[in-house]
């Protein structure tokens, strides 16, 4: 699959003929230099961006044939996304931010589950706070809770520790992997950090929009 985007300086080819299959419940680290197309690939996987050519299939569904609303419905049932800049809705409290995807999916007891989810990330005492009233680490924990609350089959994380200090970043990663382990979701993680990539089962390296290397963790490879 390929992706080209029109910009001020003309059409820019972002991804070239990428073919990548991620096994269910796998943890995949996407690494590579800035501008290599890691985040774009993640966006394509989440149906947040549309491929210029080729197919994106998730859980047996072809995302490239779905319209915006079908993609939204698919995400709320099957996907959770975490961003580097958290992307919480500023006009909503932490609890409301976490409850919203559950409500959108029409799930009963959305608020109770959201509260439990916030508890799980250690923010049970800050449910009524707005994003602006929280630190970066806290906001990212809310974002994690929001992504994990609907028990998604797939978790997509775009440099979730990029805006955080190392200690906070470590804590967030622990939470992320903990959530993944608890819910048994497939995790795709975009990161610059070799240490974080090392926590993944598989690491794919992108360079200039092309797949460069694809390696399994040594332990598994040895099996």
């Amino acid at each position: 699959m390929s992706l080209s985007l029109a910009g001020n300086a003309g059409v820019v080819d972002i991804l070239h003929d990428i073919t990548l299959e991620v096994a269910a419940k796998d943890t995949l680290g996407l690494v590579g230099p800035s501008g290599s197309g890691k985040s774009s690939l993640l966006m394509l996987m989440g149906g947040l961006e549309r491929a210029t050519s080729g197919e994106v299939e998730a859980l047996g569904h072809d995302l490239t044939t779905m319209d915006e609303d079908a993609l939204a419905r698919f995400r709320r049932s099957h996907m959770g996304v975490v961003f580097q800049s958290f992307h919480l809705i500023p006009t909503m409290t932490a609890l409301e931010n976490v409850a919203t995807p559950l409500e959108l999916a029409g799930q009963a007891g959305a608020f109770d589950r959201a509260a439990a989810e916030l508890d799980a990330v250690g923010l049970g005492h800050r449910t009524g706070h707005y994003p602006a009233q929280m630190s970066g680490g806290e906001q990212q924990r809310v974002a994690l809770a929001r992504a994990a609350a609907p028990r998604p089959d797939i978790l997509l994380a775009d440099e979730p520790t990029g805006n955080l200090d190392q200690a906070t970043g470590e804590a967030i990663m622990d939470l992320l992997f903990g959530l993944r382990d608890r819910h048994g979701a497939t995790l795709v993680l975009v990161t610059h950090s070799p240490r974080l990539a090392d926590r993944c089962d598989r690491v794919v390296r992108l360079v200039d929009g092309r797949l460069d290397t694809d390696s399994r963790r040594a332990a598994e490879a040895a099996e």
């Binding site: 985040s39 774009s40 966006m43 989440g46 947040l48 961006e49 549309r50 915006e68 609303d69 993609l71 939204a72 419905r73 995400r75 709320r76 049932s77 996304v81 961003f83 580097q84 800049s85 992307h87 919480l88 809705i89 500023p90 006009t91 909503m92 409301e96 919203t100 995807p101 409500e103 959108l104 999916a105 029409g106 009963a108 959305a110 608020f111 707005y130 602006a132 929001r146 609907p150 775009d158 440099e159 990029g162």
Partner: protein, 846 residues
């Protein structure tokens, strides 16, 4: 010393301002538009007002029909008086009165009320009269000829050549008047014009002693300067001190029109100021948004060593330049609008309009604009001083929320006081101006409180069961109640415009209700005037003999001019009772409906020194106490009476009501006529008119329904003018609204992207956007209705002195209108958030 150091902080501020302005005016379109619209509305209203008053002044000689006019009430000048007037210049005599014009004699003829102008051979002394078919006026009036206003001819199906009757006098209709040069000077009357030669009225029985007519002596003195006119006015006043005359000259040819135009103009300027206040909300929002974007720049400048005052001055200069641009745009627009709309304005007015560029109203509008800009931008500007360099390293988007320094608060207070004081002074209606200013400030405060309340309520509701499981609703409530929302700007901008409109709606509906519903229920069918004393028994026999007549009241009536009250000349009182001619009456005993509220009515058959019973309310307004002496002039003779009682007179009942009633002995001997009100079934009205006029053609019948229609029509015009003013305010409000929606677009694009990411479909997002708009609009509408109802109640209760009832139709329309307007503005900026792919937005924010 370096060049920069030499320039000082102010110079540095200028440099920073210039460099910042190079960045363009993006984000200031709403700022410019708000200021320009407000200034344009005020400039346009002011220009039209000055155009009309200038037109009146320029054409004063023609409108008046001479350089000066001396009016005698209810009589003509005697030979001595006439000789004096002729000593001043060329004199033309015009007799003016109300009468009935008929198509024939007897009960079968058609009749219509008319305002008759009986003229001499010199009429018109100034200006030209235009007739259809074209002919000299002397030819048209020769041999008992008559000229009618086309409306009157239409009403009676008359054509030139037909016979008409005034009283018992047969005349021939020769032409229709298409342009009457001195028509604007007359008050807007009930009857269209009939013009005849004075000598043709001999034998008509219309101008008898005691009849209600005026005689105007127009004097041509083309060489007289204004100083001469002043001198002659004083001399004439002294000469005719006892005669009960009134002087007017070309400088105030149409005082009634002038007063009307001044009042309407002032009122519309006040409405315009409300518009400017609405614009101010938009101006303030634009400046806040701009400065929020500049927080980082300001912090950087501080890091580099810029002082607070340098920063303040730099941004003050930028906003100042923009404000000047907005004001200039408004002035250009305000100059062009009246010129373009000139023909329309001219066609709506009975007086000439000197359309052109008038500097004074433009200056007034510019000052209002500058003060408004200062008031609404000073607060956010003052806060730039308090941006700390540290904000670069922390949350650069978190704006400072502390009070500005005292010197800015003092400046703000002075600017507000200057704006209110100036509007009170320049409008010429200070009480109303102060009330309006208070109203606007109170409305703004109420709207701010309402916005806070709406946000708190939205936050509460978002957490209740009502919102659970309804993500669109909760998103909307969250957006209204959460931080960083545009709730306050939307409620303020739309709310103030809607409040003005709601007030107009409430007042208009109540006025109409008072006229349409309340008055006719108790009002008589006809006023019959000019009943000569010897005709009274016959008249009463006719009307009382009609089975459809339920009640007949009669009272003697004399024309008088109030000369002095409690020893002070009447001219010192600015009150309708002392202005112009006043109908007075006399009575031997209080009538059956009379209610004496103070003092004692004279005993029946009283024959002592003259006594007066005065209307209670008017006496209070004039400061008259029991025992005060009041002098009136009746047909050139002064009569002084002592006020011995106060009566309650309800003029709104439509029945007979006189402010001044003398004891019968004091005036019985004076020439007088009788006034009668007749209450009858509506279907009997036509028959009654024919019966009365057939017996006595000189009696004038005024159909009360026609008079009410005339008032209703005048009110409609007033309401229409006000609605236009309120419309301008609302337009500004809508611009601010669109501005707020545009400013919020980035936020909504981001929000939509996040919502799509977590699974919201576009219909859900759109529903949420629509809901939040409608919620805010409805909130603004509800506050507007409360404010409008309060203003309506105040105006009805204290100005109109009429009962107030809440009017639902316009109120509902306003709430719905508010919701729809916000919805439209919101949806206008909804498609981009809905259409944009989430990845683009979210990546851009990384």
């Amino acid at each position: 010393m370096s060049a920069a150091a030499g320039r000082g902080w102010f110079g540095n501020a200028g440099t920073i301002a210039r460099r910042e302005l190079r960045g363009g005016l993006a984000g200031f379109r709403i700022f410019l538009l708000c200021l320009a619209l407000g200034v344009a509305a005020i400039a346009a209203v002011g220009s039209v007002r000055v155009s009309i008053t200038d037109g009146l002044a320029r054409e004063g000689r023609i409108l008046l029909g001479g350089d000066a006019e001396v009016e005698f009430g209810y009589r003509r000048a005697d030979p001595g008086e006439r000789a004096y007037l002729e000593g001043l210049g060329t004199v033309s005599e015009v007799v003016d009165f109300r009468s009935m014009v008929a198509t024939g004699q007897g009960a079968e003829a058609d009749r219509a009320l008319t305002q008759v102008k009986a003229v001499d051979g010199l009429y018109p002394l100034t200006g030209e009269i235009e007739l259809d078919p074209p002919m000299p006026i002397a030819e048209a009036l020769a041999d008992d000829g008559a000229i009618l206003h086309p409306v009157l001819a239409d009403r009676l199906a008359l054509e030139p050549g037909d016979a008409i009757f005034l009283g018992t006098k047969r005349l021939t209709l020769r032409a229709l008047v298409t342009r009457e040069p001195d028509a604007g000077g007359a008050s807007f009357g009930l009857g269209p014009r009939t013009i005849v030669a004075t000598e043709a009225l001999e034998g008509s029985g219309l101008i008898a002693e005691g009849s209600l007519f005026d005689t105007d002596y127009r004097i041509a003195m083309p060489d007289a300067t204004d100083d001469d006119l002043d001198r002659l006015r004083e001399a004439t006043r002294a000469e005719f001190a006892e005669a009960g005359t009134r002087w007017r000259d070309r400088r105030n040819a149409s005082p009634a029109v002038q007063r009307f135009v001044e009042r309407i103009g002032s009122f519309l300027v006040l409405v315009g100021l409300a518009g400017l206040a609405v614009g101010g909300v938009g101006v303030s929002a634009a400046v806040r948004a701009y400065l929020d974007r500049k927080t980082e720049v300001i912090a950087t400048l501080k890091t580099l060593g810029a002082e607070g005052r340098t920063i303040f001055a730099a941004y003050m200069m930028q906003i100042g330049v923009l404000a000047l641009a907005g004001i200039a745009g408004g002035l250009i627009l305000g100059t062009i609008i009246p010129l373009v709309a000139g023909p329309l304005i001219q066609s709506l007015l009975p007086v000439p309009v000197a359309l052109g560029v008038h500097p004074l109203p433009l200056l007034e509008a510019a000052i209002y604009g500058a003060l408004t800009a200062l008031i609404f931008t000073l607060w956010p500007l003052a806060r730039t001083e308090q941006v700390r360099a540290a904000s670069l390293f922390r949350d650069a988007t978190g704006s400072v929320r502390v009070w500005p320094r005292r010197r800015y608060l003092v400046t703000l207070a002075v600017a507000v006081a200057a704006l209110i004081g100036l509007s009170a002074w320049l409008s010429g209606i200070p009480t109303l101006a102060l009330w309006s200013a208070g109203g606007i400030v109170a409305a703004l405060a109420a709207l701010v409180l309402a916005a806070i309340g709406v946000r708190a309520l939205a936050r509460r509701l978002a957490r209740t069961r009502l919102a659970r499981g309804r993500p669109a609703l909760r998103l909307a409530l969250g957006a209204v109640g959460g931080p960083g929302g545009d709730a306050t700007a939307v409620v303020l901008s739309l709310g103030l415009g809607l409040t003005v409109l709601a007030a107009v709606g409430q007042i208009d509906a109540n006025m109409r209700a008072a006229i349409d519903r309340d008055l006719p229920a108790v009002a008589p069918s006809y006023f019959f005037i000019d009943i000569q004393p010897d005709q009274l028994p016959g008249f009463l026999e006719t009307v009382e003999g009609d089975p459809a007549v339920s009640r007949v009241d009669t009272a003697p009536m004399l024309g008088a001019v109030v000369k002095s009250i409690g020893g002070r000349p009447a001219a010192e009182f600015d009150h309708w009772v002392t202005r112009g001619d006043r109908r007075i009456s006399f009575a031997d005993a209080p009538g059956s409906g009379t209610r004496i509220v103070a003092g004692e009515f004279w005993p029946e058959g009283y024959d002592g020194p003259p006594q007066i019973s005065f209307a209670r309310e008017e006496a209070e307004e004039l400061g008259i106490a029991l025992g005060d002496e009041v002098t009136v002039n009746v047909l050139g003779r002064d009569i002084t009476g002592t006020v011995t009682s106060f009566r309650e007179v309800d003029f709104s009942s439509g029945g007979i009501g006189f402010v001044i009633v003398f004891d019968a002995a004091a005036l019985r001997g004076a020439p007088h006529t009788w006034l009668s009100t007749v209450y009858a079934d509506p279907e009997a009205e036509a028959r009654l008119l024919r019966a009365v006029a057939g017996d006595a053609p000189n009696i004038t019948a005024i159909r009360v329904r026609d008079a009410i229609d005339l008032v209703t029509e005048a009110l409609s015009a007033l309401a229409a003018a006000t609605s236009w003013g309120a419309g301008a305010t609302l337009l500004t409000g809508f611009v601010v609204l669109v501005g707020a929606a545009a400013a919020g677009e980035r936020g909504r694009i981001f929000e939509a992207a996040v919502l799509k990411t977590i699974g919201a479909t576009r219909p859900t997002i759109l529903a949420s956007f629509a809901l939040r708009s409608a919620l805010l609009g409805a909130a603004a509408g509800i506050v507007a209705i409360a404010g409008g109802a309060l203003a309506g109640w105040g105006i009805m209760r204290f100005v109109m002195e009429a009962p107030y009832a809440f009017e639902w139709v316009s109120a509902t329309a306003i709430v719905l209108g508010g919701a729809v307007a916000t919805l439209l503005a919101g949806l206008l900026f909804a498609w981009r958030p809905l259409a944009t792919r989430p990845a683009r937005v979210l990546r851009a924010q990384e």
